[in-house]
């Protein structure tokens, strides 16, 4: 399979990465080289083989639906610490450009 400029533009849109049109030809070539290498997987007969997501075939461990913060944790202080490193936050909210007119 080879990847077209349109495929790349679609993937870039899905991945929310802006591409310069000038970069697309070189990117196409690089991605096609990668996909050509990856295409060797098609040589293998995998009929009936269970896909493997976890090396130890472990399933997601669940925890009880209970508060795990130590007693005395001040939720507002925790939020303030997290938001102190945000590019833009105000009154406990993260700010982004206007979404709804």
């Amino acid at each position: 399979m080879s990847i077209t400029a349109a495929d790349i533009e679609k993937a870039a849109k899905l991945a929310r990465i802006r591409l310069d049109a000038a970069d697309v030809p070189e990117l196409s070539q690089r991605l096609n080289n990668i996909l050509a290498m990856v295409d060797r997987l098609q040589e293998v007969d995998t009929a009936g083989i269970e896909p493997m997501a976890n090396p130890l075939d472990a399933t997601q461990r669940l925890r009880a639906d209970a508060v795990t913060e130590p007693a005395g944790t001040d939720a507002l202080n925790v939020r303030a610490a997290f938001q102190a490193i945000a590019p833009s936050a105000e009154q406990g909210l993260y700010l982004v450009p206007k979404v709804i007119e």
Binding site: M1, I3, D7, I8, K10, A11, A12, L14, A15, R16, I17, R18, L19, L27, R30, L31, N33, I34, L35, M37, V38, D39, R40, L41, Q42, E43, V44, T46, I49, E50, P51, M52, A53, N54, P55, L56, A58, Q60, R61, R63, A81, F82, A84, I85, A86, P87, S88, Y94, V96, P97, K98, V99
Partner: protein, 485 residues
């Protein structure tokens, strides 16, 4: 002091030959004077280091010292450190100061280590040469015109240049073992789930694993003792007791069955490395091991399989970098879509973007079965090959890399770069533990012997590594020029 192993430093500290404050200041002075040559650190934290060293000296005097009290180490800049910039080698996180510590950082602090700073790395751990870092390439202390390997290249160079006693690394496809090999160090990737991933910035979550990089297997065992263990905050952490990895270091190797996969000695392997590996295997045979040829038939498919699975997981993991909650944000976004797309276009480097695009493509409608599902099936077959091999042998041995350290800029084609990891990548797909130890020199540059163990057999790898290092001195060599003062 800077040439000593952790084991030797602990003796010196216990015998009061020097204090941790003296040792820490000595290392800090070396970093200040020498690191311009290597670029191994992104951030150095002198005040915090000296303060921790002072506390370690006091704990030692009070008899409350942890197992590694006062030992100066460095953390790869992928581990979150509370109040200290954690960049992951990326412009995206150049301004990121985490409000919490990774579990590995917490556990090592509890053992008493002194953190000197954060080491350079390939951006988001995506690379085999440390050339994709936003903070510039790292120079190999053995040959400064060459790469140190990657992605934990800063950690490897810092240890080899004697700018710390040891360091943490992470390994998704070889990122501990390959730089350890190229810089003449001992580097261990533990079994998937052995070391907590909490606070370790995610690249490919089903493959990522943190581990120690050090001057000897003995030092690696001391570090793994501190790092390993169950963590409820990592959903794939193994619920399994941690043995004392130093307790079995001296075990005899009599009758140990070591398998040499014939596929690891084929074309692509530099002949001088092949000779060095055979010589190292002979040494193990002298120590009592029994050598046997084995086969891992799908070896050639590990790289293709990895380059579907790792980018697919990365594309999901790296979606969190959106310019909203932390990290880089583009100037003057005109709407939310523009904010996302320009933040990510400007914040990520070329290799990271390439992998996100490959991963997004492989997961997109119409291609999921052909790429991602197929790769997950091949992944199981690769694991099955190892499971079958471990019915016949206790440890698998071979080269860590096909070539010694290459020159900066020598490999510009991504696929060629990916193939440098041909011997290390399958181990991550299978989730097995593996270690690289120094096994000689080719073109005056160090090369590594890779030892692969069965699940949770880190003790066996460290045992074999230690016995080998008792009989050889490759690990004790130091590069020219790093030893001044």
């Amino acid at each position: 002091m800077h040439r000593l192993t952790i084991a030797e430093l602990l003796e010196g500290l216990a015998a009061k030959k020097f204090s941790s404050v003296e040792l820490t200041q000595h290392y800090l002075a070396r970093i200040e004077k020498l690191d311009a040559r290597y670029n191994s650190y992104i951030t150095v934290t002198p005040e915090a280091a000296v303060e921790t060293a002072r506390a370690a000296d006091k704990a030692r005097a009070d008899g409350t010292a942890g197992a590694l009290a006062g030992i100066p180490i460095a953390h790869k800049d992928i581990f979150c450190t509370n109040g200290v910039k954690t960049s992951c080698g990326s412009k995206m996180l150049d301004n990121f100061v985490p409000p919490y510590d990774a579990t590995v950082v917490t556990k090592m602090a509890q053992a008493g280590v002194v953190c000197l700073g954060k080491t350079n790395m390939d951006e988001f751990a995506m690379g085999s040469s440390n050339e994709t870092s936003f903070y510039g390439a790292v120079n190999n202390p053995w040959a400064t015109d060459c790469v140190p390997g990657g992605s934990s290249g800063g950690s490897a160079a810092a240890i080899a240049a004697q700018l710390c006693a040891a360091a943490t690394g992470t390994d998704t496809g070889g990122s501990i073992r390959q730089p350890a090999a190229l810089c003449g160090l001992t580097g261990l990737k533990p079994t998937y789930g052995r070391v907590s991933r909490y606070g370790m910035i995610a690249f490919a979550s089903s493959l990522d694993q943190g581990g120690p990089m050090a001057r000897s297997a003995h030092d690696a065992s001391l570090l793994l003792n501190a790092m390993a263990g169950f963590d409820a905050r990592d959903s794939t952490s193994a619920e399994r007791a941690v043995p004392d990895y130093t307790a079995t270091l001296h075990d005899k190797l009599d009758g140990l069955r070591i398998g040499l996969p014939k596929e690891y000695f084929g074309k692509g392997l530099k002949p001088e490395i092949e000779q060095a590996i055979h010589a190292a295997v002979k040494e193990l045979e002298k120590l009592g091991a029994v050598i046997k040829e084995i086969s891992l038939p799908l070896t050639d498919l590990a790289v293709p399989c990895y380059y579907v699975i790792a980018p697919a997981e990365a594309s999901a993991n790296l979606s969190r970098f959106d310019g909203v909650r932390y990290g880089y944000r583009c100037d003057n976004p005109k709407d939310l879509y523009d904010l996302y797309t320009r933040t990510r276009a400007e914040g990520f480097g070329e290799e990271v973007k390439r992998r996100i695009l490959v991963g997004t493509y492989a997961l997109s409608a119409g291609y999921y079965d052909a790429y991602y599902l197929k790769a997950q099936q091949v992944r199981r077959l690769i694991k099955n090959d190892f499971v079958a091999a471990f019915n016949e042998v206790d440890v698998i041995a071979g080269p860590t890399t096909p070539n010694p350290a290459f020159r900066h800029g020598a490999i510009s084609d991504p696929v060629t770069m990916y193939l440098e990891d041909i011997y290390t990548i399958a181990v991550n797909l299978a989730g097995l533990p593996a270690m690289s130890i120094p096994a000689g020199f080719v073109d005056d540059k160090p090369i590594g012997l890779q030892l692969i163990g069965n699940y949770f057999a880190e003790d066996k790898l460290l045992n074999v590594g230690h016995r080998f290092q008792q009989a050889t001195d490759w690990h004790a060599r130091a590069p020219h020029g790093v030893d001044s003062n």
